[in-house]
């Protein structure tokens, strides 16, 4: 049996590869006809090859279950998701614009707060934000950049429009899987790389290192960059180790670092103490420094904030940058872009209703069955309600939660997330997906070519998080025009 594209029907959803049953979109034509030349059995063999490659390479993520941490093989679907380069260039510019504006916004909040005195965002927004850190007021990180690494989630609605769903500015993860997905695809579908001009993605570690070096304080020729991990029990430990290894940087834990009397940071090596210039930290703000934040933190480094405030070490992302990673602040991003850059946003936000505003709250309450309700400060898909897929009882629970703490909730119309062909038990079926590109800002700005496509493997599901049954796909930005 071979694939019959005529039977592949995404219905009311926008499909990334197939425009109408039987017809592939232009950049996906090579892929679609090649897939048609394979039998279903051959596809299954490629799928097994991919699974073996993932096990061989040790690509895992960690889940906490039954009181134990288990390393699971990374879930991967071999059919790539394809994006034409012309569309991608617009997205790329939009993402750069967004991060630049967000960094100007954060820097403003920790200095003069002009955006508040000019009445663009309300003061209460900052006062009630869980990500605002008064310890950061008056600090000026290199190049005015606070959020150096950003992972923005993009989704496509049924009319084909790409929206930004959220900006992850704290410790976004997933980039290592983007790189590994490409490695696996090159192993199991090598034929496809001959006829398609696919932008490479493996320069990310190099770009990351360059960015991190560009924010180093002082003028050392070879600044010492380290990756700070909470340790092996963290769900993204694989990524921490991956990035450290591919940048040639040490992977350190809090106990490996020490702040000496000179307020500089050192790591403990077998040669003695070695000065550290830049820390790519994968630990949340509140655990970074028990002297400044949670005293019970055992994964942090006492005195780290002191060293950072004195400008003796750079932290990426900077503490306090989470103020802009807040689903209420998100609703103001278009205004933030206009305010700082004097330009129209290139990428739209999903229309979002703030529950602390009476009118908007009422709209959410009344239409909760057709909306997605999210807490302002959670990530990983936790604590949210997908109205169309919830029971009346669940909707009622969320109505109560919202009235109790309106500032903490926003509502969005449930989008009809786009789909792409995904290898399922019997054949290729449409599954919903999103896209997380990664943006770097230091001295320069950089966007990955594509990003990590996450796919909800269960039929009809909209939840793409790997901790909740999501899988992933290699993402191709294809330049078949020139």
């Amino acid at each position: 049996m071979t694939i019959d594209w005529k039977n592949y029907d995404p219905g009311e959803f926008y499909d990334e590869l197939i425009s109408t049953p039987g017809y592939a979109r232009a950049p996906a034509r090579n892929l679609a006809s090649w897939l048609r030349s394979l039998s279903y059995e051959e596809l299954q063999v490629r799928k097994l090859d991919a699974e073996l490659a993932i096990i061989d390479k040790g690509v895992t993520f960690t889940v906490y279950s039954d009181g134990e941490n288990i390393d699971r093989a990374w879930p991967f679907d071999i059919i790539p998701r394809i994006m034409p380069i012309r569309e991608w260039r617009v997205i790329e510019a939009g993402l750069k614009q967004r991060l630049q504006a967000l960094n100007l916004f954060i820097d403003d909040l920790y200095h003069d707060q002009n955006i508040i005195s000019d009445g663009i965002v309300p003061e209460s927004l900052i006062a009630q934000s869980r990500g605002f850190r008064k310890e950061c007021i008056g600090i000026s990180p290199a190049h005015g950049v606070w959020a150096h690494i950003c992972g923005s989630d993009l989704v496509r609605d049924s009319d084909g429009t790409i929206y930004v769903l959220e900006d992850n500015l704290r410790v976004p993860s997933g980039v290592s899987y983007m790189i590994e997905n490409r490695e696996v695809t090159k192993r199991v579908l090598p034929e496809l790389f001959e006829n398609n001009n696919i932008l490479p993605v493996d320069d990310y570690p190099e770009q990351l290192l360059k960015m991190l070096q560009s924010i180093a304080p002082g003028r050392r020729k070879q600044p010492e960059v380290v990756v700070l991990t909470p340790g092996i029990y963290n769900s993204a430990y694989f990524e921490h180790a991956f990035l450290a290894r591919s940048m040639g940087a040490e992977l350190v834990e809090g106990a490996d670092l020490v702040v000496e009397k000179d307020d500089c940071v050192y790591m403990k090596t077998i040669q003695g103490l070695a000065r550290v210039d830049v820390i790519y930290r994968r630990i949340d703000d509140l655990y970074l420094d028990p002297e400044a934040f949670l005293p019970e933190s055992e994964i942090g480094v006492p005195g780290l904030m002191r060293a950072w405030r004195k400008g003796n070490v750079a932290l990426a992302n900077a503490p306090g940058c989470g103020v802009a990673d807040d689903k209420v602040v998100y609703t103001y991003v278009p205004d933030i872009i206009r305010y700082y850059l004097d330009a129209e946003p290139l990428l739209p936000n999903v229309p979002t209703y703030r529950c602390n505003d009476k009118q908007q709250r009422e709209h959410v309450m009344e239409n909760i069955e057709s909306m997605v309700v999210k807490p302002a400060n959670e990530s990983g898909g936790y604590g949210m309600l997908v109205g169309p897929q919830s029971t009346a009882k669940e909707c009622e629970t969320f109505r109560r939660l919202i009235s109790k703490d309106p500032r903490n909730y926003v509502g969005q119309p449930a989008l009809k997330l786009s789909t792409a062909p995904t290898l399922c038990d019997q054949t290729l079926e449409p599954r919903h997906l999103d896209l997380r590109p990664f943006i770097l800002q230091g001295k320069d700005t950089y966007v990955t070519a594509g990003g990590l496509t996450r796919v909800a493997m269960n039929k009809g599901s909209l939840v793409v998080n790997s901790s909740q049954g999501g899988g992933s796909k290699d993402t191709w930005v294809v330049d078949n025009e020139g």
């Binding site: 040790g58 992977l251 350190v252 106990a255 490996d256 403990k268 077998i270 040669q271």
Partner: protein, 305 residues
């Protein structure tokens, strides 16, 4: 290289070596006792004495019989030096330093733990003991071989070799001690002598090598000298100390640690086994063990931050 990583892989190597050594020890002792005439003075509780867990053992068990001793050494959760606990510690140390080790190390240590937990019960009765212990020894040797054959021989590997050789030297001194203790109060002409020292050689896989190198018969003085002072036997104390010294040569800040290594080496050189009775031999061994732990202390102070 980070101090933490050095510490963890050093301990990983020690625990793997310790696992192998416990297995060897129980195995040989098992066969030695089968050969002993009925009513011989030496009993199973010699083993907790030489592995340094006798107080805990007495506390935990009323009867110091074979079953309890073997259980204590292999499976007892409350004994930090038990075989199962050693494997668990090796695994924890490996888990937290995977980025400097070949990927298969983690898989093989996992396999080792799975096998040991599933089958340790087989080793409590005599019948299944040999098979279990032999499997454990094979697994450990496989891991040692994997590291030697696939890991870059850099500083990380130096710490692995240092850990392995210190643990090995320590165990060899303990094995000689068992011999000494078995002989206490015994008549030298006693036929038991040959059995005991043959067993000690076998514990360290040194019997065949001894036969090849020393054409004289098995007797205490020669065996003790062989196990402590032979330059070529991989488990002799001087051989292990020389390997440690070799590794130290590659490391930064090694000066302070070289001193206790050389002191201990000289102490071994000065031992004249033919002139020592059982009691004096025991005292000498005691001092060697103090020397080995002084080396460990200095390593900890210098590199483990």
């Amino acid at each position: 290289m980070l101090s933490r990583v050095a510490r963890r892989i050093y301990w990983m190597a020690r625990y793997i070596e310790r696992t192998e050594n416990i297995a060897r020890l129980v195995n040989t002792y098992h066969f030695l006792l089968l050969d002993m005439p009925r009513g011989t003075r030496i009993g199973w509780d010699v083993l907790p004495i030489i592995t340094g867990g006798y107080d805990l053992f007495s506390e935990r068990y009323q009867r110091h019989d074979e079953r309890n001793t073997v259980k204590f050494l292999l499976a007892d959760d409350s004994n930090p030096g038990s075989l199962l606990n050693s494997i668990t510690s090796a695994r924890e140390n490996c888990r937290t330093s995977r980025e400097v080790l070949p990927g298969q190390t983690w898989e093989q240590i996992n396999e080792l733990l799975l096998y040991a937990s599933a089958h340790v019960g087989d080793a409590l009765p005599r019948r299944g003991r040999f098979k279990f212990l032999t499997q454990i020894i094979h697994h450990c040797q496989q891991i040692t071989g994997l590291l030697s054959g696939t890991m870059s021989h850099d500083h990380a590997y130096d710490f692995i070799r240092i850990g392995r050789n210190l643990e090995r030297a320590d165990m060899t001194t303990r094995v000689v001690d068992v011999g000494a203790m078995s002989m206490q109060g015994a008549d030298d002409s006693d036929n038991i002598d040959v059995h005991v020292w043959t067993s000690m050689l076998k514990t360290l896989n040194a019997y065949q090598m001894y036969r090849k190198d020393i054409q004289l018969g098995v007797n205490r003085a020669d065996v003790v000298s062989y196990l402590l002072q032979n330059d070529y036997l991989p488990r002799s104390v001087v051989h292990c100390l020389d390997r440690v010294e070799e590794c130290l040569g590659d490391l930064p800040l090694q000066k302070e640690t070289l001193k206790p290594v050389r002191d201990t080496r000289h102490r071994v050189d000065r031992i004249k086994p033919e002139k020592l009775d059982a009691e004096k031999l025991h005292q000498q061994i005691d001092q060697l063990q103090t020397g080995i732990s002084a080396i460990h202390d200095q390593i900890r102070k210098t590199w483990f931050g």
